[in-house]
Amino acid sequence: MDFHAALGIGLPIGIGIAAVGSGIGLGGIGNGAMQAIGRQPEATGKIQLNMIIIAALAEALTIYAFVTMFLLSPKI
Protein backbone atom coordinates (compact mmCIF):
# COMPACT_ATOMS: atom_id res chain seq x y z
CA MET A 1 0.00 0.00 0.00
CA ASP A 2 1.50 3.33 -0.96
CA PHE A 3 1.39 6.52 1.02
CA HIS A 4 -1.54 8.10 -0.79
CA ALA A 5 -3.77 5.10 -0.49
CA ALA A 6 -2.96 4.77 3.19
CA LEU A 7 -3.81 8.41 3.74
CA GLY A 8 -7.00 8.13 1.69
CA ILE A 9 -8.22 5.23 3.76
CA GLY A 10 -6.89 6.46 7.07
CA LEU A 11 -8.20 10.01 7.12
CA PRO A 12 -11.94 9.29 6.96
CA ILE A 13 -11.62 6.40 9.37
CA GLY A 14 -9.60 8.51 11.76
CA ILE A 15 -12.07 11.34 11.79
CA GLY A 16 -14.87 8.83 12.23
CA ILE A 17 -13.21 7.34 15.29
CA ALA A 18 -12.66 10.82 16.72
CA ALA A 19 -16.32 11.64 16.13
CA VAL A 20 -17.41 8.46 17.89
CA GLY A 21 -15.29 9.30 20.89
CA SER A 22 -16.45 12.82 21.31
CA GLY A 23 -20.01 11.75 20.56
CA ILE A 24 -19.89 9.41 23.53
CA GLY A 25 -18.41 12.18 25.63
CA LEU A 26 -21.05 14.69 24.57
CA GLY A 27 -23.76 12.17 25.31
CA GLY A 28 -22.45 11.74 28.82
CA ILE A 29 -22.20 15.49 29.35
CA GLY A 30 -25.72 16.07 28.09
CA ASN A 31 -27.02 13.22 30.19
CA GLY A 32 -25.45 14.62 33.33
CA ALA A 33 -26.56 18.15 32.66
CA MET A 34 -30.14 17.17 31.91
CA GLN A 35 -30.36 15.09 35.06
CA ALA A 36 -28.94 17.94 37.10
CA ILE A 37 -31.42 20.38 35.59
CA GLY A 38 -34.23 17.95 36.27
CA ARG A 39 -33.21 17.74 39.89
CA GLN A 40 -32.51 21.43 40.36
CA PRO A 41 -34.39 23.48 37.80
CA GLU A 42 -33.47 26.71 39.57
CA ALA A 43 -29.75 26.16 38.78
CA THR A 44 -30.42 25.80 35.05
CA GLY A 45 -28.31 28.80 34.02
CA LYS A 46 -25.19 27.73 35.84
CA ILE A 47 -25.50 24.13 34.74
CA GLN A 48 -26.01 25.11 31.14
CA LEU A 49 -22.97 27.35 31.20
CA ASN A 50 -20.74 24.62 32.57
CA MET A 51 -22.28 22.12 30.18
CA ILE A 52 -21.39 24.34 27.23
CA ILE A 53 -17.82 24.75 28.45
CA ILE A 54 -17.26 21.05 28.92
CA ALA A 55 -19.07 20.22 25.71
CA ALA A 56 -16.75 22.59 23.89
CA LEU A 57 -13.76 20.85 25.42
CA ALA A 58 -15.05 17.45 24.39
CA GLU A 59 -15.96 18.63 20.94
CA ALA A 60 -12.55 20.19 20.43
CA LEU A 61 -10.99 16.74 20.08
CA THR A 62 -13.06 16.00 17.00
CA ILE A 63 -12.22 19.41 15.69
CA TYR A 64 -8.52 18.66 16.06
CA ALA A 65 -9.03 15.51 14.01
CA PHE A 66 -10.98 17.53 11.48
CA VAL A 67 -8.26 20.17 11.19
CA THR A 68 -5.67 17.44 10.81
CA MET A 69 -7.73 15.93 8.04
CA PHE A 70 -7.85 19.23 6.22
CA LEU A 71 -4.14 19.72 6.67
CA LEU A 72 -3.39 16.29 5.27
CA SER A 73 -6.06 15.94 2.62
CA PRO A 74 -4.16 17.93 -0.06
CA LYS A 75 -1.45 15.28 0.15
CA ILE A 76 -3.73 12.51 -1.04
Partner: protein
Protein backbone atom coordinates in the same frame (compact mmCIF):
# COMPACT_ATOMS: atom_id res chain seq x y z
CA UNK B 1 -51.53 54.42 -12.28
CA UNK B 2 -49.51 57.52 -11.72
CA UNK B 3 -46.84 58.15 -9.14
CA UNK B 4 -47.58 55.02 -7.19
CA UNK B 5 -47.03 52.97 -10.32
CA UNK B 6 -43.66 54.66 -10.83
CA UNK B 7 -42.64 53.87 -7.27
CA UNK B 8 -43.47 50.23 -7.85
CA UNK B 9 -41.42 50.23 -11.02
CA UNK B 10 -38.50 51.68 -9.13
CA UNK B 11 -38.65 48.98 -6.47
CA UNK B 12 -38.96 46.14 -8.97
CA UNK B 13 -36.12 47.51 -11.06
CA UNK B 14 -33.85 47.78 -8.06
CA UNK B 15 -34.44 44.17 -7.08
CA UNK B 16 -34.27 42.81 -10.59
CA UNK B 17 -31.14 44.64 -11.61
CA UNK B 18 -29.45 43.83 -8.32
CA UNK B 19 -30.02 40.11 -8.72
CA UNK B 20 -29.16 40.18 -12.41
CA UNK B 21 -25.97 42.11 -11.73
CA UNK B 22 -24.90 39.61 -9.07
CA UNK B 23 -25.58 36.64 -11.34
CA UNK B 24 -23.77 38.21 -14.28
CA UNK B 25 -20.84 39.33 -12.16
CA UNK B 26 -20.45 35.78 -10.89
CA UNK B 27 -20.95 33.80 -14.06
CA UNK B 28 -19.79 36.18 -16.80
CA UNK B 29 -17.50 38.99 -15.91
CA UNK B 30 -17.52 41.26 -12.87
CA UNK B 31 -17.26 44.38 -15.01
CA UNK B 32 -20.35 43.39 -16.96
CA UNK B 33 -22.32 43.01 -13.73
CA UNK B 34 -21.10 46.38 -12.52
CA UNK B 35 -22.05 47.89 -15.84
CA UNK B 36 -25.53 46.45 -15.62
CA UNK B 37 -26.05 47.70 -12.09
CA UNK B 38 -24.70 51.17 -12.86
CA UNK B 39 -26.73 51.40 -16.05
CA UNK B 40 -29.90 50.51 -14.21
CA UNK B 41 -29.07 53.02 -11.47
CA UNK B 42 -28.42 55.78 -13.97
CA UNK B 43 -31.63 54.99 -15.77
CA UNK B 44 -33.56 55.03 -12.52
CA UNK B 45 -32.06 58.35 -11.51
CA UNK B 46 -32.91 59.74 -14.91
CA UNK B 47 -36.47 58.53 -14.60
CA UNK B 48 -36.71 60.11 -11.18
CA UNK B 49 -35.49 63.43 -12.55
CA UNK B 50 -37.96 63.29 -15.40
CA UNK B 51 -40.69 62.53 -12.90
CA UNK B 52 -39.61 65.55 -10.88
CA UNK B 53 -39.68 67.72 -13.95
CA UNK B 54 -43.11 66.57 -15.05
CA UNK B 55 -44.55 66.90 -11.58
CA UNK B 56 -43.13 70.39 -11.11
CA UNK B 57 -44.48 71.51 -14.46
CA UNK B 58 -47.92 70.00 -14.15
CA UNK B 59 -48.55 70.84 -10.51
CA UNK B 60 -51.50 73.23 -10.45
CA UNK B 61 -51.52 76.38 -8.33
CA UNK B 62 -49.36 79.45 -8.76
CA UNK B 63 -48.39 79.66 -5.11
CA UNK B 64 -45.48 77.29 -5.32
CA UNK B 65 -44.37 78.43 -8.73
CA UNK B 66 -40.94 79.65 -7.63
CA UNK B 67 -40.33 76.36 -5.91
CA UNK B 68 -41.58 74.48 -8.92
CA UNK B 69 -39.27 76.42 -11.18
CA UNK B 70 -36.34 75.65 -8.93
CA UNK B 71 -37.24 71.98 -9.04
CA UNK B 72 -37.52 72.00 -12.80
CA UNK B 73 -34.12 73.64 -13.06
CA UNK B 74 -32.67 71.04 -10.71
CA UNK B 75 -34.15 68.23 -12.80
CA UNK B 76 -32.80 69.64 -16.07
CA UNK B 77 -29.37 70.26 -14.60
CA UNK B 78 -29.30 66.77 -13.12
CA UNK B 79 -30.15 65.23 -16.47
CA UNK B 80 -27.34 67.07 -18.20
CA UNK B 81 -24.93 65.95 -15.49
CA UNK B 82 -26.09 62.43 -16.02
CA UNK B 83 -25.33 62.63 -19.70
CA UNK B 84 -21.76 63.54 -18.84
CA UNK B 85 -21.56 60.79 -16.28
CA UNK B 86 -22.94 58.29 -18.77
CA UNK B 87 -20.25 59.22 -21.28
CA UNK B 88 -17.65 58.69 -18.57
CA UNK B 89 -19.10 55.30 -17.66
CA UNK B 90 -19.15 54.25 -21.31
CA UNK B 91 -15.42 54.72 -21.37
CA UNK B 92 -14.73 52.35 -18.51
CA UNK B 93 -17.46 49.71 -18.60
CA UNK B 94 -18.69 47.45 -21.38
CA UNK B 95 -21.20 49.42 -23.42
CA UNK B 96 -23.55 46.54 -24.14
CA UNK B 97 -24.16 45.78 -20.50
CA UNK B 98 -24.57 49.45 -19.67
CA UNK B 99 -27.23 49.74 -22.33
CA UNK B 100 -28.96 46.60 -21.08
CA UNK B 101 -28.93 48.00 -17.57
CA UNK B 102 -30.25 51.28 -18.88
CA UNK B 103 -33.10 49.42 -20.52
CA UNK B 104 -34.09 47.43 -17.44
CA UNK B 105 -36.51 50.03 -16.02
CA UNK B 106 -38.24 50.38 -19.37
CA UNK B 107 -38.53 46.62 -19.65
CA UNK B 108 -40.04 46.52 -16.17
CA UNK B 109 -42.43 49.31 -17.12
CA UNK B 110 -43.50 47.48 -20.25
CA UNK B 111 -44.00 44.20 -18.41
CA UNK B 112 -45.95 45.90 -15.66
CA UNK B 113 -48.19 47.68 -18.14
CA UNK B 114 -48.79 44.44 -20.03
CA UNK B 115 -49.52 42.65 -16.79
CA UNK B 116 -51.97 45.34 -15.73
CA UNK B 117 -53.78 45.16 -19.06
CA UNK B 118 -53.81 41.39 -18.95
CA UNK B 119 -55.07 41.12 -15.40
CA UNK B 120 -57.94 43.52 -16.00
CA UNK B 121 -59.14 41.77 -19.10
CA UNK B 122 -62.03 39.35 -18.98
CA UNK B 123 -60.03 36.68 -20.71
CA UNK B 124 -57.61 36.48 -17.80
CA UNK B 125 -60.44 36.20 -15.26
CA UNK B 126 -61.92 33.34 -17.26
CA UNK B 127 -58.53 31.70 -17.53
CA UNK B 128 -57.68 31.77 -13.85
CA UNK B 129 -61.13 30.73 -12.71
CA UNK B 130 -60.00 27.12 -12.81
CA UNK B 131 -56.90 26.28 -10.77
CA UNK B 132 -55.66 23.44 -12.98
CA UNK B 133 -55.67 25.59 -16.08
CA UNK B 134 -53.62 28.25 -14.32
CA UNK B 135 -51.22 25.64 -12.96
CA UNK B 136 -50.77 24.25 -16.46
CA UNK B 137 -49.96 27.73 -17.76
CA UNK B 138 -47.38 28.28 -15.02
CA UNK B 139 -45.76 24.95 -15.82
CA UNK B 140 -45.69 25.79 -19.53
CA UNK B 141 -44.03 29.13 -18.84
CA UNK B 142 -41.47 27.50 -16.55
CA UNK B 143 -40.68 24.88 -19.20
CA UNK B 144 -40.29 27.52 -21.88
CA UNK B 145 -37.91 29.48 -19.65
CA UNK B 146 -35.90 26.36 -19.01
CA UNK B 147 -35.51 25.73 -22.72
CA UNK B 148 -34.65 29.35 -23.39
CA UNK B 149 -32.00 29.40 -20.67
CA UNK B 150 -30.46 26.22 -21.99
CA UNK B 151 -30.30 27.66 -25.50
CA UNK B 152 -28.53 30.83 -24.38
CA UNK B 153 -24.80 30.48 -24.98
CA UNK B 154 -22.85 30.30 -21.78
CA UNK B 155 -25.89 30.50 -19.56
CA UNK B 156 -25.04 27.30 -17.75
CA UNK B 157 -23.47 27.89 -14.38
CA UNK B 158 -22.33 24.43 -13.47
CA UNK B 159 -18.88 23.87 -14.78
CA UNK B 160 -19.72 20.21 -15.10
CA UNK B 161 -21.35 20.88 -18.45
CA UNK B 162 -18.25 22.50 -19.77
CA UNK B 163 -17.03 19.28 -21.26
CA UNK B 164 -20.25 18.98 -23.26
CA UNK B 165 -19.41 21.82 -25.63
CA UNK B 166 -16.03 23.17 -24.73
CA UNK B 167 -15.29 24.98 -27.95
CA UNK B 168 -18.47 26.99 -28.17
CA UNK B 169 -18.02 29.33 -25.26
CA UNK B 170 -14.56 28.93 -23.93
CA UNK B 171 -13.82 32.35 -22.43
CA UNK B 172 -17.11 32.51 -20.64
CA UNK B 173 -16.79 28.94 -19.51
CA UNK B 174 -13.36 29.50 -18.06
CA UNK B 175 -14.54 32.36 -15.98
CA UNK B 176 -17.59 30.44 -14.97
CA UNK B 177 -15.52 27.55 -13.79
CA UNK B 178 -13.39 29.81 -11.68
CA UNK B 179 -16.37 31.39 -10.07
CA UNK B 180 -18.77 28.48 -9.91
CA UNK B 181 -19.52 27.80 -6.36
CA UNK B 182 -16.94 25.16 -5.64
CA UNK B 183 -14.33 25.27 -8.32
CA UNK B 184 -11.95 22.77 -6.87
CA UNK B 185 -14.39 19.95 -6.31
CA UNK B 186 -16.00 20.39 -9.68
CA UNK B 187 -12.66 20.65 -11.38
CA UNK B 188 -11.38 17.48 -9.83
CA UNK B 189 -14.27 15.59 -11.34
CA UNK B 190 -13.34 16.48 -14.85
CA UNK B 191 -9.74 17.40 -14.50
CA UNK B 192 -8.81 14.61 -16.85
CA UNK B 193 -10.75 15.82 -19.84
CA UNK B 194 -9.98 19.46 -19.41
CA UNK B 195 -6.31 19.65 -18.76
CA UNK B 196 -5.28 20.40 -22.29
CA UNK B 197 -7.61 23.32 -22.73
CA UNK B 198 -6.42 26.01 -20.45
CA UNK B 199 -3.57 24.40 -18.63
CA UNK B 200 -1.66 27.65 -18.19
CA UNK B 201 -4.01 29.55 -15.96
CA UNK B 202 -5.67 26.50 -14.53
CA UNK B 203 -2.43 25.34 -13.03
CA UNK B 204 -2.28 28.13 -10.50
CA UNK B 205 -6.01 28.22 -9.90
CA UNK B 206 -5.97 24.64 -8.80
CA UNK B 207 -3.81 25.46 -5.81
CA UNK B 208 -6.57 27.59 -4.35
CA UNK B 209 -8.67 26.29 -1.54
CA UNK B 210 -12.25 25.46 -2.36
CA UNK B 211 -14.83 27.98 -1.29
CA UNK B 212 -17.56 30.31 -2.35
CA UNK B 213 -16.52 33.23 -4.53
CA UNK B 214 -15.85 36.36 -2.54
CA UNK B 215 -15.38 39.99 -3.41
CA UNK B 216 -11.67 39.27 -3.61
CA UNK B 217 -12.23 36.51 -6.16
CA UNK B 218 -14.27 38.91 -8.26
CA UNK B 219 -11.49 41.47 -8.06
CA UNK B 220 -9.04 38.80 -9.08
CA UNK B 221 -11.06 38.09 -12.19
CA UNK B 222 -11.60 41.74 -13.05
CA UNK B 223 -7.95 42.74 -12.71
CA UNK B 224 -5.88 39.58 -12.96
CA UNK B 225 -2.59 41.40 -13.41
CA UNK B 226 -2.93 44.34 -11.04
CA UNK B 227 0.07 45.09 -8.86
CA UNK B 228 -1.93 45.19 -5.64
CA UNK B 229 -3.65 41.88 -6.30
CA UNK B 230 -1.19 39.52 -4.55
CA UNK B 231 -1.34 41.68 -1.46
CA UNK B 232 -5.15 41.67 -1.42
CA UNK B 233 -5.40 37.94 -2.01
CA UNK B 234 -2.77 37.16 0.58
CA UNK B 235 -4.35 39.30 3.28
CA UNK B 236 -7.96 38.47 2.41
CA UNK B 237 -8.91 37.38 5.92
CA UNK B 238 -7.18 40.36 7.47
CA UNK B 239 -8.90 42.80 5.16
CA UNK B 240 -12.26 41.28 5.91
CA UNK B 241 -11.66 41.34 9.65
CA UNK B 242 -10.59 44.98 9.50
CA UNK B 243 -13.69 45.76 7.51
CA UNK B 244 -15.86 44.03 10.11
CA UNK B 245 -14.12 45.89 12.92
CA UNK B 246 -14.86 49.12 11.11
CA UNK B 247 -18.50 48.13 10.71
CA UNK B 248 -18.81 47.39 14.41
CA UNK B 249 -17.19 50.71 15.27
CA UNK B 250 -19.64 52.52 13.02
CA UNK B 251 -22.56 50.68 14.54
CA UNK B 252 -21.43 51.47 18.07
CA UNK B 253 -20.88 55.09 17.11
CA UNK B 254 -24.34 55.49 15.64
CA UNK B 255 -25.97 53.63 18.51
CA UNK B 256 -24.35 55.73 21.22
CA UNK B 257 -24.13 59.09 19.50
CA UNK B 258 -27.45 60.42 20.72
CA UNK B 259 -28.19 58.42 23.81
CA UNK B 260 -31.71 59.02 25.02
CA UNK B 261 -33.66 58.03 28.08
CA UNK B 262 -36.22 56.35 25.84
CA UNK B 263 -34.01 54.55 23.36
CA UNK B 264 -34.71 54.08 19.69
CA UNK B 265 -34.52 50.72 17.98
CA UNK B 266 -30.77 50.64 17.42
CA UNK B 267 -29.86 51.94 20.83
CA UNK B 268 -32.29 49.52 22.41
CA UNK B 269 -30.79 46.51 20.67
CA UNK B 270 -27.21 47.47 21.49
CA UNK B 271 -28.11 48.20 25.10
CA UNK B 272 -29.82 44.84 25.44
CA UNK B 273 -26.73 43.08 24.05
CA UNK B 274 -24.35 44.97 26.33
CA UNK B 275 -26.54 44.33 29.33
CA UNK B 276 -26.73 40.62 28.62
CA UNK B 277 -22.95 40.47 28.23
CA UNK B 278 -22.49 42.44 31.45
CA UNK B 279 -24.72 40.08 33.41
CA UNK B 280 -22.95 37.13 31.87
CA UNK B 281 -19.39 38.24 32.62
CA UNK B 282 -20.21 39.56 36.08
CA UNK B 283 -22.02 36.30 36.80
CA UNK B 284 -18.77 34.39 36.24
CA UNK B 285 -16.10 36.81 37.46
CA UNK B 286 -18.08 38.36 40.28
CA UNK B 287 -19.01 42.00 40.85
CA UNK B 288 -15.46 42.96 41.84
CA UNK B 289 -13.57 41.92 38.72
CA UNK B 290 -16.41 41.57 36.22
CA UNK B 291 -16.74 45.21 35.14
CA UNK B 292 -13.00 45.50 34.61
CA UNK B 293 -12.85 42.70 32.05
CA UNK B 294 -16.27 43.26 30.52
CA UNK B 295 -15.07 45.56 27.69
CA UNK B 296 -12.46 43.09 26.50
CA UNK B 297 -14.62 39.98 26.76
CA UNK B 298 -17.73 41.63 25.38
CA UNK B 299 -15.79 42.98 22.43
CA UNK B 300 -14.38 39.51 21.82
CA UNK B 301 -17.87 38.03 21.73
CA UNK B 302 -19.35 40.65 19.41
CA UNK B 303 -16.33 40.64 17.10
CA UNK B 304 -16.12 36.88 16.82
CA UNK B 305 -19.85 36.54 16.33
CA UNK B 306 -19.81 39.14 13.57
CA UNK B 307 -16.85 37.46 11.90
CA UNK B 308 -18.47 34.02 12.08
CA UNK B 309 -21.73 35.25 10.64
CA UNK B 310 -20.05 37.30 7.95
CA UNK B 311 -19.27 34.24 5.88
CA UNK B 312 -22.96 33.57 5.37
CA UNK B 313 -23.40 36.80 3.42
CA UNK B 314 -22.92 36.21 -0.31
CA UNK B 315 -19.53 37.33 -1.64
CA UNK B 316 -18.17 37.63 1.88
CA UNK B 317 -15.79 35.43 3.77
CA UNK B 318 -15.48 34.47 7.42
CA UNK B 319 -12.13 35.76 8.63
CA UNK B 320 -12.31 33.22 11.45
CA UNK B 321 -12.10 30.46 8.85
CA UNK B 322 -8.43 31.33 8.66
CA UNK B 323 -6.05 30.18 11.34
CA UNK B 324 -4.19 33.49 11.35
CA UNK B 325 -7.13 35.44 12.71
CA UNK B 326 -8.08 32.93 15.39
CA UNK B 327 -4.49 32.55 16.57
CA UNK B 328 -4.24 36.31 16.84
CA UNK B 329 -7.40 36.44 18.95
CA UNK B 330 -6.26 33.59 21.18
CA UNK B 331 -2.82 35.13 21.64
CA UNK B 332 -4.45 38.38 22.72
CA UNK B 333 -6.39 36.49 25.35
CA UNK B 334 -3.28 34.57 26.41
CA UNK B 335 -1.14 37.66 26.88
CA UNK B 336 -3.87 39.49 28.72
CA UNK B 337 -4.48 36.54 31.02
CA UNK B 338 -0.78 36.21 31.88
CA UNK B 339 -0.55 39.95 32.42
CA UNK B 340 -3.55 39.78 34.73
CA UNK B 341 -1.93 36.95 36.65
CA UNK B 342 1.37 38.74 37.10
CA UNK B 343 -0.28 42.00 38.00
CA UNK B 344 -2.81 40.49 40.38
CA UNK B 345 -0.58 37.99 42.13
CA UNK B 346 2.82 39.68 41.80
CA UNK B 347 5.79 37.93 40.25
CA UNK B 348 6.31 35.72 43.27
CA UNK B 349 2.67 34.89 43.53
CA UNK B 350 2.54 34.11 39.83
CA UNK B 351 5.48 31.71 40.09
CA UNK B 352 3.89 30.24 43.16
CA UNK B 353 0.75 29.68 41.15
CA UNK B 354 2.75 28.03 38.40
CA UNK B 355 4.42 25.55 40.72
CA UNK B 356 1.08 24.64 42.25
CA UNK B 357 1.15 26.73 45.49
CA UNK B 358 3.26 24.30 47.57
CA UNK B 359 2.62 24.64 51.31
CA UNK B 360 3.96 21.40 52.75
CA UNK B 361 6.74 18.91 52.09
CA UNK B 362 4.83 16.63 49.78
CA UNK B 363 3.69 19.40 47.49
CA UNK B 364 7.26 20.79 47.42
CA UNK B 365 8.38 17.35 46.31
CA UNK B 366 5.75 17.44 43.59
CA UNK B 367 7.00 20.76 42.16
CA UNK B 368 9.10 19.20 39.35
CA UNK B 369 5.94 17.46 38.24
CA UNK B 370 3.55 20.37 38.70
CA UNK B 371 5.62 23.03 36.97
CA UNK B 372 5.64 21.44 33.49
CA UNK B 373 1.99 20.54 33.84
CA UNK B 374 1.00 24.10 34.64
CA UNK B 375 3.24 25.63 31.99
CA UNK B 376 1.97 23.23 29.36
CA UNK B 377 -1.58 23.89 30.50
CA UNK B 378 -1.11 27.62 30.04
CA UNK B 379 0.46 27.12 26.62
CA UNK B 380 -2.27 24.73 25.53
CA UNK B 381 -4.98 27.31 26.16
CA UNK B 382 -4.35 29.57 23.15
CA UNK B 383 -3.76 26.56 20.92
CA UNK B 384 -7.03 24.93 21.84
CA UNK B 385 -8.94 28.21 21.70
CA UNK B 386 -7.71 29.09 18.24
CA UNK B 387 -7.96 25.59 16.79
CA UNK B 388 -11.46 25.13 18.10
CA UNK B 389 -12.75 28.35 16.60
CA UNK B 390 -10.91 27.83 13.32
CA UNK B 391 -11.99 24.21 13.00
CA UNK B 392 -15.63 24.91 13.68
CA UNK B 393 -16.01 27.89 11.38
CA UNK B 394 -13.88 26.38 8.64
CA UNK B 395 -15.69 23.06 8.87
CA UNK B 396 -19.03 24.79 8.73
CA UNK B 397 -18.01 26.73 5.62
CA UNK B 398 -16.68 23.57 4.01
CA UNK B 399 -19.94 21.81 4.76
CA UNK B 400 -21.89 24.55 3.00
CA UNK B 401 -19.48 24.47 0.05
CA UNK B 402 -19.69 20.70 -0.21
CA UNK B 403 -23.46 20.72 -0.30
CA UNK B 404 -23.60 23.64 -2.71
CA UNK B 405 -21.31 21.65 -5.00
CA UNK B 406 -23.58 18.68 -4.67
CA UNK B 407 -26.53 20.90 -5.53
CA UNK B 408 -24.78 22.10 -8.68
CA UNK B 409 -23.72 18.64 -9.72
CA UNK B 410 -27.27 17.31 -9.47
CA UNK B 411 -28.51 19.49 -12.33
CA UNK B 412 -25.84 19.38 -15.04
CA UNK B 413 -28.27 18.36 -17.77
CA UNK B 414 -30.64 21.24 -17.17
CA UNK B 415 -27.94 23.79 -18.05
CA UNK B 416 -29.30 26.26 -15.57
CA UNK B 417 -27.12 29.04 -14.21
CA UNK B 418 -27.80 27.76 -10.72
CA UNK B 419 -28.13 24.47 -8.86
CA UNK B 420 -30.40 23.07 -6.23
CA UNK B 421 -29.88 25.06 -3.02
CA UNK B 422 -29.04 21.97 -0.99
CA UNK B 423 -26.78 23.92 1.36
CA UNK B 424 -29.74 25.93 2.63
CA UNK B 425 -30.51 22.97 4.87
CA UNK B 426 -27.31 23.64 6.76
CA UNK B 427 -27.55 27.39 7.08
CA UNK B 428 -29.53 27.18 10.34
CA UNK B 429 -26.89 24.82 11.66
CA UNK B 430 -24.21 27.29 10.66
CA UNK B 431 -26.07 30.10 12.42
CA UNK B 432 -26.35 28.06 15.58
CA UNK B 433 -22.74 26.98 15.55
CA UNK B 434 -21.53 30.52 14.85
CA UNK B 435 -23.26 31.83 17.94
CA UNK B 436 -22.18 28.84 19.99
CA UNK B 437 -18.52 29.14 19.03
CA UNK B 438 -18.44 32.84 19.79
CA UNK B 439 -20.03 32.06 23.14
CA UNK B 440 -17.60 29.23 23.86
CA UNK B 441 -14.60 31.37 23.04
CA UNK B 442 -15.85 34.09 25.37
CA UNK B 443 -16.78 31.70 28.17
CA UNK B 444 -13.42 29.96 28.06
CA UNK B 445 -11.54 33.26 28.04
CA UNK B 446 -13.60 34.39 31.00
CA UNK B 447 -12.81 31.19 32.84
CA UNK B 448 -9.10 31.63 32.13
CA UNK B 449 -9.31 35.07 33.67
CA UNK B 450 -11.17 33.60 36.63
CA UNK B 451 -8.43 31.03 37.17
CA UNK B 452 -5.75 33.72 37.14
CA UNK B 453 -7.49 36.19 39.41
CA UNK B 454 -6.73 36.09 43.12
CA UNK B 455 -9.51 34.09 44.64
CA UNK B 456 -10.24 33.21 48.23
CA UNK B 457 -13.38 31.15 48.18
CA UNK B 458 -12.75 29.41 44.89
CA UNK B 459 -9.87 27.24 46.06
CA UNK B 460 -11.58 23.92 45.51
CA UNK B 461 -13.19 24.97 42.29
CA UNK B 462 -9.85 25.90 40.84
CA UNK B 463 -8.43 22.44 41.37
CA UNK B 464 -11.50 20.92 39.78
CA UNK B 465 -11.17 23.20 36.76
CA UNK B 466 -7.48 22.52 36.41
CA UNK B 467 -8.23 18.86 36.06
CA UNK B 468 -9.23 19.18 32.44
Amino acid sequence: MGLEFLARIRRTTLWLSGIAALVIATYFAPLAGAGLALGALASLANLGLIELLVVSITTPGSKASAQARARAALALGGMITFFALGALLLKFLPAMWLMIGFGVPFLVMLMKAVALLLIESGWWAKFTARPWRAALAVLAVAFAMWLALGALPGAGGASAQRSAKPAAHQPAANQMAASAKAPDAAEKVEAGGDKGEAAGEKGEKKEKEPGFPTVITLLEQAQPHAAWLPFVVHYEALLFSLFIAGLICLLAFFASREAKMIPGNLQNAVEALVEALHDFVVGILGPKYGPRYLPFLGTLFIYILAMNLFGLIPFMHSPTASLNVTVALALTVFVYVQYTGIRGLGIVGYLDHLIGSPRDVISWLLVPLMLPIHVLGELAKPISLSCRLFGNVFGEDMLLVAFATLGILTLPIAKLPFGLPLHLLFVPLALLSSVLQALVFTVLSTVYFLLMLPHDEHGDEEKAQHAH
